[in-house]
């Protein structure tokens, strides 16, 4: 399939895009020729670097997360070995603190969710009837960002010491005054990179699950695993935005010298607690929900009964997802918050336990009148439920504030959360056994599976139950009362047993993959969901025909039959297979033509650019970790870091430009359930969803500013700001931005009217105004940096005080958003010059959405930082 007739012989529309030379845009050949027929097989190494297929990405996630499980597990064994004797000497104080911090960070971030999302990546499109996720390259990008962020965390251990302030990273322990090692900054940057991976992933899954469901598969009909993942990604979208704010502020404190969290700031320590726990509480449900959904599916399949109270179960999950954002202060009962607030959060915390009660009972009652088979997946699901119940009961203790007063900072908390979270892991192990035959086409070894379960369950309880008995031991402390020695030793033995069980798991998966019995499409007697209706493993594009539930059951329609009359399927615009993945505009044929072969929307499966972007991000963040107080230190080390930043940054920019210019066809579905995004296409949905998370990001920044300002005294604030900080620059910037927004609207209008020069001119105007904004800001900042007044003899810089810190970082974040927008706009100018966007102006519309958002944010920042 050469480029010249990629459109097919029937395409007669004129295109400005120089298709003939196969190039997408910038002078020369930036766009790649169609690689699809060159997509390497599973045995080839190159395949794994370029694949964007959801099944491959899923396997990458699962395998990688198991490596991180081993790292986190080894750290746990180190901790438990230290605790064999009170005042253990295996590790010194700094090493022990790194061990507990890295153990928590790795397990929560680099193991739990990625493992769940590996399975979700594989299974969700199959369950909903889609050929892939909405944005396959972004999916691959999520993975590479994840992998490289984990590698960055590993690097941090070699830069003095990694982060040693606990996975909770409390302030001000988290600032360089108290944790000076460069590795601590690197660990924070690694987590920030991970957050980017998650955000990209959530946008992808949200768009996919809402917009790419087979006809007839309404939201209520979704499989429970899909429901749990959907709610997980919605929670992730908002929670991780708050974490990103916290991490950006912390990185800024560590690398640029701002003073948000330093002890001088009245609200600094509490600000971190609020930001972190606002993220932290939804996070624990984020890691648990996939397990819950998987357990529900496993219960159904292995009991042969449909889930009791299914609609209530879904409602309960929805309630928990929403309520998860309203309980965070139960992690702060012993801070200086007042009694009314404590009471409120006590109430909301107890409130959130009730939907969980319902879900637990629903699972239990599903067993009634069942035909239960105790195969490995069910053993783990059942066991996981037991462990979760025990953990949940102990959580009620913590919700009673007066009890929490004593449990705070003790092993009661540690035991509680390990019961619930590792209870979740138990459910995920059930999931991996359950879906293993689908993913590999082989059956796992059932005997080994049962051995795994016994070792696991015994090891688990031996490890965590004694922690309740020795609960008075303080957390993260390796000295404890001698009467607790037997309990701690039991725990240590249990830890090794549990570790052994994971080795059995990995061995089982490995040996079965190599040598197991073949599995057919559906090895489970009572499975109902769509993934079991295709071969194991499924073909590249999942289905032979188009899945549909419109008849009340799963059927597969032939490709051409499914194409007629699709315009009214959901009342929205029919998806045309154009720019579905945001690559260079591919004006493929309209779908109205019925007689097309299945090659007409030949989906792409390969791109090297996600890998490049991931690797480049790794490099640039290694470089940035060397910053101190906003600049690189002099000398060889400083030179290394500066150089690395430059190289990484350049590579990153290059990778993104290539990715944008690449011709990539994402999957499309002519007919699908699309609620509630029926009227918009995938790209626009994705953009809106992304902007929603950006709203939370800026909301957190603005909230932080308000919090600190109130703590300092709202009107006192003016003493922290030099007289030279006047309204005028802000006002000018407001006008510049508003005008630039208007210019973007003009660009859209010109594009709709096929006016190439008009589009180019308006985009140039946009960029010009945006550059003006940045120059104006630079002048303003430069002036403020060099202020010399009585109050500010050394200028008003990032590190001067909290007012300067909040001002520069918040408006700086906004300025960074402007800069990114300008880079995109520059790229678009070049493409517009070459005639793009005249047939498909959607990219301009999507850019416009982003740009208007950035302007609206400024309309909030301007009064807050210049007027009030």
């Amino acid at each position: 399939m050469s480029n010249a007739d990629a459109d097919g012989p029937d395409d007669t529309r004129t295109e400005g895009t120089p298709r003939a030379d196969g190039a997408g845009a910038v002078a020369g050949e930036l766009a790649e020729p169609d690689h699809d027929h060159e997509f390497p097989g599973m045995g080839s190494i190159r395949r794994w670097f370029v694949t964007t297929n959801h099944k491959d990405v899923g396997i990458l996630y699962v395998v990688t997360s198991l490596f991180f499980l081993l790292f986190g597990g080894v750290l746990a064994l180190l901790i438990r070995t230290q605790l064999w004797v009170p005042g253990g000497t295996v590790l010194d104080g700094l090493a022990y603190n790194q061990a507990v911090s890295a153990h928590g960070l790795i397990m929560v971030f680099w193991f739990l969710s990625p493992f769940a999302f590996g399975i979700a990546n594989y299974v969700i499109p199959l369950q909903i009837g889609a050929k892939d996720l909405a944005f396959p390259r972004l999916n691959a990008l999520s993975y590479w960002l994840y992998l490289f962020s984990g590698l960055l965390l590993m690097v941090s251990f070699f830069q003095g010491a990694s982060f040693s302030g606990g996975w909770t990273m409390y302030a001000p322990l988290n600032v360089p005054v108290y944790t000076p090692h460069i590795g601590a900054s690197t660990a924070i940057l690694a987590l920030t990179m991970f957050t980017a991976s998650v955000t990209v992933g959530s946008v992808n899954f949200i768009t996919t699950i809402h917009r790419m469901r087979a006809p007839g598969l309404t939201m209520w009909n979704l499989p429970l695993f899909t429901w749990s993942i959907l709610l997980t990604v919605w929670m992730m979208l908002f929670a991780f935005a708050a974490l990103l704010a916290a991490l950006v502020i912390l990185s800024s404190d560590r690398l640029l010298g701002t003073t948000y969290f330093a002890a001088q700031s009245a609200g600094g320590s509490l600000l971190w607690a609020h930001l972190f726990w606002f993220f932290g509480h939804p996070e624990v449900y984020i890691v648990f929900f996939p397990a819950l959904g998987a357990m529900a599916e496993v219960f159904q399949t292995f009991t042969g009964r449909r889930l009791v109270g299914r609609k209530y179960f879904i409602g309960a999950m929805l309630l928990v997802a929403i309520q998860s954002f309203m309980v965070w202060m139960h992690h702060m009962f012993l801070t200086s918050i007042n009694l009314e607030i404590k009471t409120l959060f006590m109430a909301t915390t107890i409130g959130i336990s009730l939907p969980f009660d319902l879900m637990v009972f629903a699972l239990i009652y599903t067993m009634l009148k069942g035909d239960i088979r105790f195969e490995t997946p069910f053993l783990f699901a059942f066991g996981g439920l037991v462990l979760f119940i025990l953990g949940g009961i102990t959580g009620v203790f913590l919700g009673a504030v007066v009890l929490d007063y004593e449990f705070r900072g003790t092993y009661w908390v540690v035991a509680h959360f390990h019961y619930v979270m590792v209870g979740g892991v138990t459910g995920l192990i059930a999931a991996i056994y359950y879906w293993f035959p689908k993913m590999t086409g082989k059956l796992y070894d059932e005997f080994l599976g049962k051995v795994n379960f016994v070792l696991y369950f015994v090891g688990f309880n031996l490890l965590y139950f004694p922690m309740f008995l020795a609960w008075e031991t303080p957390r993260r402390v390796f000295d404890y009362r001698p009467e607790y020695i037997p309990w701690h030793r039991l725990s240590t033995v249990g830890a090794f047993l549990l570790g052994l069980s994971f080795l059995v798991l990995i061995y089982n998966l490995y040996i079965s993959y190599l040598d197991g019995a073949d599995a057919d499409g559906n090895p489970w007697k009572y499975a109902t969901t769509a993934e079991w209706a295709v071969p194991s493993p499924p073909p590249l594009e999942n289905f032979d025909g188009l899945p549909s539930y419109e008849d009340g059951n799963l059927t597969f329609r032939s490709e051409s039959a499914g194409r007629g009359g699709e315009a009214a399927a959901d009342g929205g615009r029919t998806d045309t297979p154009r720019s579905a993945d945001g690559g260079a505009v591919v004006t493929a044929p309209e779908t109205g033509v019925v007689a097309k072969t299945s090659h007409e929307e030949h989906a792409s499966h390969a791109s090297i650019w996600p890998f490049v972007a991931g690797a480049a991000s790794f490099v640039v963040l290694v470089g940035l970790s060397g910053l101190q107080q906003g600049s690189f230190p002099s000398g060889a080390a400083g030179g290394f870091y500066a150089g690395t930043t430059l190289v990484g940054g350049g590579l990153l920019l290059y990778g993104f430009v290539r990715m944008a210019a690449e011709r990539f066809h994402g999957p499309t579905m002519a007919m699908a359930e699309r609620w509630p995004f029926a009227g918009v296409d995938n790209m626009k949905t994705g953009m809106w969803v992304f902007l929603a998370s950006d709203v939370v990001l800026f909301g957190a920044f603005i909230g932080s500013y308000v919090f600190i300002r109130v703590a300092e005294g709202w009107t006192n604030w003016h003493h922290l700001i030099p007289a030279d900080h006047v309204v005028l620059p802000g006002l000018i910037n407001t006008y510049l931005l508003l005008t630039s927004s208007f210019a973007v609207v003009l660009a859209l209008v010109f594009a709709e009217r096929n006016n190439r020069l008009g589009v180019v001119a308006s985009l140039i105007a946009t960029v010009g105004l945006g550059v003006g904004f940045l120059i104006n800001k630079a002048l303003e900042w430069n002036h403020l940096f060099h202020v010399h007044s009585e109050a500010f003899p050394n200028g008003w810089e990032l590190s001067t005080n909290v007012a300067s810190s909040t001002f520069y970082l918040t408006t700086g974040l906004h300025g960074a958003h402007v800069t990114v927008g300008l880079i995109i706009a520059l790229y678009m100018i070049v493409r517009a010059w070459n005639g793009a966007y005249l047939d498909d102006e959607a990219p301009i519309e999507q850019f416009g959405l982003y740009w208007h958002f950035v302007d609206i944010v400024w309309l909030f920042l301007f009064p807050l930082f210049y007027i009030l």
Binding site: L173, G309, I341, F361, G409, V477, A533
Partner: protein
């Protein structure tokens, strides 16, 4: 000895009389803890036991399965019905959980407000945490690294930190409070048995966290008065970070405990 605390519903058994546990922090915690523990264990045993029973009862045992209504591949999900039992169980557990918490709310009010330190003759001590130890400041300005308190008298602690986030707790006396730089937290306790106790740090604060301890000595009233009389404003040591006399508490934006 512990078993006595299993009967908190016996009127007059606890300090304040009636349903709401009152008394020293140890008594209050003990009563609530043991109720929760027994109830929690009961619920756990009942629920898990029921699960095991049901799993056994409905196991696949090779006999012909005559239930024609099993799930089949490709079907659209249906409710599965039987919401009734579900809501009954949910209702029951909600009643248990909400009652438990409501019961502890009374004690929360007692601890936070209507507590022995209100308007009574109590001792106020400032506590300052630092990497890696504690200093205590008495009303007369005396600073010390050992906390000495009289028996049977309410002691109010005003806790803060001069560097990072710590947490001050005396497990033997069941009192604990965060030590936050720039903030002041308050808590109180009554010690009814003389002796030596240990105070520890319950928030990771750096390399010395595991060793951050202080000794607490509970003395009979007379002995305490004698000791205190001998101290006077011993201004020699610790710097001016006496928490008890630092003015101007900052109040967290989202509601803080006023000074």
């Amino acid at each position: 000895m512990r078993f006595l605390h299993v009967l908190p519903l016996v009127p007059g058994h606890n300090g304040g009389g009636g349903l709401i546990p009152r008394g020293t922090r140890v008594e209050v915690f003990s009563e609530i803890y043991w109720v929760f523990l027994w109830l929690g264990a009961l619920v756990g045993v009942v629920v898990v036991g029921y699960m095991l029973y049901v799993a056994y009862e409905y196991r696949h045992d090779g006999e012909v399965d005559d239930d024609g209504d099993r799930p089949s591949l490709g079907e659209l999900p249906t409710g599965g019905g039987k919401g009734g039992k579900l809501f009954l169980s949910l209702g029951l557990s909600a009643v248990i959980v909400v009652s438990l918490i409501a019961w502890t709310y009374g004690t929360l009010l007692y601890v936070e407000g209507d507590s022995p330190v209100e308007g009574e003759d109590h001792l106020t001590v400032g506590v300052v945490g630092y990497q890696f130890g504690w200093t205590f400041t008495y009303p007369n300005g005396h600073n010390t690294t050992t906390l000495r308190v009289p028996e049977d008298r309410a002691v109010q602690l005003r806790v803060t930190s001069r560097d990072v986030f710590h947490n001050f707790g005396i497990p033997g006396l069941k009192v604990k409070s965060d030590a936050i730089p720039g903030q002041r937290t308050n808590t109180w306790f009554i010690a009814d048995e003389p002796g030596e106790y240990t105070a520890k740090c319950y928030e990771l604060c750096g390399v010395g966290h595991s060793y951050m301890q202080a000794t607490v000595v509970v003395m009979p009233e007379a002995e305490y008065e004698a000791w205190y009389a001998n101290t006077m404003a011993d201004g020699a040591n610790e710097s001016n970070t006496s928490a008890a006399t630092t003015p101007g508490d900052t109040t967290a934006a989202l509601g803080g405990v006023p000074a």
